[in-house]
């Protein structure tokens, strides 16, 4: 069945393949174009470097008028990521715009990794260490970077 949301997602997928942004990738699951798997590579020169972080993106038929639900499947240690992998990012909530596409979503999350917003913490320990103890913060991040290679 082809609906506007599904056709828009096919376009997003085509754009992602033809013009792939650096360090992110994503594709719809085989049997449901509304559910995507994605990978974000930790950006260079950040504590997240070399991490391969997996995510799921769940769209509804209201896309692009409503944002998808995005969550990390790989374990994450970040001030704006909840323990269940949910992401606190304004453009995925109240600052959503229907002009965003999958490529924009993934690159926004990628840049959030090294530019956390400690004012709206989703992980209070990560927010506290980020502000007060960078060395300990980076140690915790290294641990989840290593873990990201092991998850199936």
């Amino acid at each position: 069945m082809s609906t506007p949301a599904r056709r828009r997602l096919m376009r997003d997928f085509k754009k992602l393949q033809e013009d792939p942004p650096a360090g992110v990738s994503g594709a719809p699951t085989e049997d449901n174009i509304l559910i995507w798997n994605a990978v974000i590579f930790g950006p260079h020169d950040t504590p997240f470097e070399d991490g391969t972080f997996k995510l799921t993106i769940r769209f509804t038929e209201d896309y692009p008028n409503k944002p998808p639900a995005v969550r990390f499947v790989s374990k994450m240690f970040h001030p704006n990521v909840y323990a269940d992998g949910g992401i606190c990012l304004d453009i995925l909530q109240n600052r959503w715009s229907p002009t965003y596409d999958v490529s924009a979503i993934l690159t926004s999350i990628q840049s959030l990794l090294d530019e956390p917003n400690p004012n709206s913490p989703a992980n209070s320990l990560a927010a506290q260490l980020y502000q007060q103890n960078k060395r300990e913060y980076e140690k915790k991040v290294s641990a989840i970077v290593e873990e990201s290679w092991m998850n199936e």
């Binding site: 082809s2 506007p4 754009k15 692009p64 008028n65 409503k66 715009s97 229907p98 002009t99």
Partner: protein, 103 residues
């Protein structure tokens, strides 16, 4: 065009004798569509074509383009369903006020 005939040069030039004359002038004009963008930023299809929803429902004749006062343009159907959620332009976040509707 070179301006050397009128600019003062350090070398003494003979008076009342221009260095060159224009024998031929080919004016070149550039044109572009009178829209800021040719693609609808919401459905990502060309504004000259119908939007995704209308192509689906084979109502391509009714699908028109609307310009906001911010000069951003979208298919009317695309912006209409967004305006149920917010009255801001999806591109610049300014309040959406219709400037004109057309094709």
């Amino acid at each position: 065009m070179e301006k050397s005939s009128t600019s003062k040069s350090s070398k003494p030039a003979p008076k009342e004798e221009s260095l060159f004359t224009i024998k031929k002038w080919n004016a070149v004009a550039l044109w572009s569509w009178d829209v800021t963008c040719d693609t609808c930023a919401i459905c990502k299809l060309l504004l000259v074509d119908a939007c995704m929803k209308c192509q689906n429902e084979i109502k391509t004749e009714d699908c028109v383009v609307v310009w906001g006062e911010c000069n951003h343009s979208f298919h009317r159907c695309c912006i209409a369903s967004w305006l149920n959620k917010s009255n801001r332009c999806p591109l610049c976040q300014r309040e959406w006020i219709v400037q004109r509707i057309g094709r």
